[in-house]
Amino acid sequence: MATPQTPPTPGDLTPELLAAPQWSDQMVAAAGIPMYDIPFLTIGGGIGSFVTLDYLRIYGVPTSQMRVVSNIDHPWQTYEFLTRCSQIPRPERIRSDSASRPDNIWGFPSYGVEEAWREKKISYLWQLFTEPILNDYWTPRAGTVFRHLEREARRINYWDMLVKGQVRMVRRRHGGGYFTVVTPPEGASATKRIVFRSRFAHIAIGYPGLKFLPDLQEFRQKYGDYQHVVNAYEPHEQVYEFLKTRPGTVVIRGGGIVASRVLQRLFDDRERFGLKTQIIHIFRTFISGSHGPHIWMRRRGGDGWAYQGFNYPKSVWGGQLKAEMRKLEGADRARKYKEMGGTNTPKRRRWQEQMRDGRGGGYYHAVQGVVEKVEPTEDGRLLSHVRSGDGTIRQPVSDYIIDCTGLEADIAEHRIFDDLLKHGGAYRNPVGRLEVERHFEVKGTASGDGALYASGSATLGGYFPGVDTFLGLQIAAQEIADDLARRGFCRRMGPARSTSQWLKWALNKPV
């Protein structure tokens, strides 16, 4: 007996399309999917898409030539959500250099100069002058970044280019260019899918997803408890609220910037509300001092942490490390990434002071260890089984565990990348992510006179290391814009246009 078949929904992907690595215009038309032409399409709609469009608008590309497909309304939405969860509300300062301005491709004036001017604070200028020697790095408030992004988005008519929808896949087109399949919001289209046909496509979809520490994932699934074992990147205000109601113990896992932030929140609350919170901080890799292979490759550290001003050593964004990495391939590149990698956090004076007080006051305990499992106790608390390098077993009991490790899921967890790796010709770089050219074209995906680019976290491991940062996204955007100029899509921007465009930026005039 024949298997009953449901007729395909009109305007949906067909088995024929799903199986073919390259599509023709006829194939898409036959599936009844409406097709829209746009020369340049960026996918994601976060800060990566935004800075790319910003560059291209400033280079002179009109909005009619570009679209951004996104499931968010404004480019800083996801970033703001993640920073807020990880304890950086708008008035707090993010970990980013003063001259890394996603709203200003020139980075001039820097955020520091601008905040100093607006708040009439000469101390900011002094801090900028003396960083990082006599002072901590000056870093901008999250609110400053978002406010300026909004201004720039208006200036370049960002919302004229925004198309809401969920991108399902990008496939190469017979004859050149790409098809991007989009699932529009309910009711926005008569068909389930729509397709953009473009010569150029750009993927900037951010982190493929969060990954939990395996033992914590196991605990959450086994016991169905999502309240007491939390990830710092998800809303977890209940932890801080609970601690205001009674004394409690929190286990922190991880040694990066998010752990620092969460610790600061716990210390601040302790001080502000007179709480009795006990903190147990578990470092898998406990750094006790300066570390590195030789005198020219040594990073400061101590009390568990590796210290570094920003996510990467500063020279990855334009200095020596950037120049070196650009020349490396394969195993050499992977080795270089390993040398400068590792979780780290800035050595901020305020945080050092709080931790010192915590150690002295007996309420902050930092230990090295690997957590083997987490179990609930009879009274509903959490028992961690921690094995240290020296064989010591500790079994701290806590009310909450906050996972601050910020592990990222594999790129193939995201269906766009998964599809690209399976059907698009893309492949992985030496550290397992998407291999891109020096100009951020995804290797192996060329299609006629078109090009597919990617920027952001998915491209870590390429010729340029600082990809998942504001300045890194701008460096990628500049490389992409210059490559598009070489291909005739726009004109390369020289000093005269750059200066006149900067004046327009300064006066908040349209590009």
Partner: protein
């Protein structure tokens, strides 16, 4: 801008030839000095500077970040100025003879250096958007 060695050297020559010359053209006549001597001082700052940049690049290797903090860029005027001043005084730079008087030298040197430092820390990025991502290379 976080420099590479070649970027340091190129930026130094570029800024001397633009900002340095401009400041010299304004300042030296005001001080009643000899413009030719003033411009030769800039040439000396450039040529001796190549050796200084080698030293700075070497020192930078001890820094994990391989960066060159903003303050270093300004404060290096002290050793560079002193060395050049003594070389001029001692007659070691024969093409600059007679050496400019101390006051004229220091006023020109400090103003040129300060202006170059200010431009390198911001305005330079306005016309040259690729400069800071290429370690200070102009070419």
């Amino acid at each position: 801008m976080v420099p590479t060695l070649i970027g340091r050297i190129q930026t130094r020559f570029f800024l001397l030839a633009t900002v340095g010359v401009l400041v010299t053209l304004i300042v030296v006549p005001l001080l009643g000095g000899d413009l030719g001597t003033g411009l030769l001082v800039l040439v000396a700052v450039g040529l001796i500077g190549v050796l200084w940049e080698l030293l700075y690049h070497f020192l930078m290797q001890f820094r994990w970040e391989k960066d060159w903090p903003t303050s270093f860029g300004l404060l290096t005027l002290v050793p560079e100025g002193l060395l050049l001043f003594f070389l001029l005084r001692s007659g070691a730079i024969s093409i600059i003879d007679p050496a400019p008087p101390a006051s004229a030298f220091w006023i020109q040197f400090i103003l040129v250096w300060g202006a170059m430092w200010l431009v390198a820390n911001g305005p330079m990025r306005v016309p040259f958007i690729r400069w800071r991502f290429r370690g200070g290379r102009v070419l």
